[in-house]
Assembly symmetry: C2
Homo-oligomer: 233 residues x 2
Amino acid sequence: MMILMPANSPTSLDDEVEIRPPDSRDKILEVAEGLFAYGGYSGVGMRQLAAMVGLSKSALFHHFPTKIDLYEAVLDRVLVRIEHGLNGAAIHEGDPVAQLDAWVDAVVCTLAEDAPAGRLMMRALVDEEPFPAISLGVGANGAEPDRELMIFEVRLAGIVERFGGLLERGIAEGVFRAVPTGDAILNVVGTLVFYFASGDLGEALVGESIFSHSAVSRRRREVSQFIRGGLLA
Amino acid sequence: MMILMPANSPTSLDDEVEIRPPDSRDKILEVAEGLFAYGGYSGVGMRQLAAMVGLSKSALFHHFPTKIDLYEAVLDRVLVRIEHGLNGAAIHEGDPVAQLDAWVDAVVCTLAEDAPAGRLMMRALVDEEPFPAISLGVGANGAEPDRELMIFEVRLAGIVERFGGLLERGIAEGVFRAVPTGDAILNVVGTLVFYFASGDLGEALVGESIFSHSAVSRRRREVSQFIRGGLLA
DNA sequence: GTCTATACGATGATAGAC
DNA sequence: GTCTATCATCGTATAGAC
């Protein structure tokens, strides 16, 4: 389990002491991620969470003033991991097809590394009131969004936008089929995330844990072929 | 909104009087479907539901002894619609490619007809403790499942099995790529369902309501092409 | 930062009268 | 079938001591 720094935090070495008190907050987020993934937002109780993390209920409310704040922090942490995986991959090298492969593989590998992430992402994507930031271009124009945007939403909008750009370049070069990017993005996201959110259903279908080594390496091949087949000209 | 009969109910004409008291139970299911789709299982209160349907809370508990019973009934009703859509389509005529097209289109059309269905299905698929019935072959052998199966799960297992059979026939005939059926099923289900579960995110990406007439007719084309590309040899 | 104590509303569910 | 009344429990949040 890697330790990640927020993408926008200024990196200075002597902050180390202050930045990482490897303490309660991280443990809360870790446990909460599993619980939210399992039971959804409404299915998790702060009492229950506090007990599992070994803290008092009120100590928990000290770290996260409200339940939704905790939820946002958990979601954002997962997205930071995905962003990190994308940044570490060669998604800007080679032709659009190679970039697509790198993109897909990076997401698959990140979701394969911690089990709750896929389910959590799928829940967040399905839950209502998500992500108008995408249609706004994330602050590209001066129009204020009609409600407070979650950090999580802005981060997701950035990722989706980068993928949309890749799609458009591939279409312009003629290597991808000329498809509406909206539908294509939904196809790819659905395919990528659903496998890792499918839990027991997925296990019943593939015949072993969807997170086992062999299942994941098979998945990397299969999802890449499926998406290439669906997108390439 | 069509009136459907359970697939296994004996069809006799004079049952009509008894079968359809077009009454409270249906109204409860209708409202509950919307609520569960919007807020998930834990996010819906029986008080709230009773108020919206115009009943007392205890009257509600008379129709459905427990909340989970209601939830199962709602899920099953959606699956019955999907089953009905599949039965009405030409999924047994022509070569496997034609059957695949009929299959995909039938599911898309059913999910397009009532908005909560897709979101509800995605939630149910992501929720834990689903569907070991699939690996058991739905009563094909004598082994008892280790817990009570929901009607809903058995019905889903049947649908998934039929699709798995179609995949295997297509692979045997050489018209589909030789892929592991488990991964392929998850790819198709994820692609099919996620679009109709994506709500505001989907709307932001496709530029209009995902249930609008133009969006749905575009979707029928796009998802068919995407899945064909991903599966065909 | 962490704890105990307390409060309030809402929840799922039950019992019994009409 | 539908209602009112009631129950214990939960989620959420606050206040204040250590």
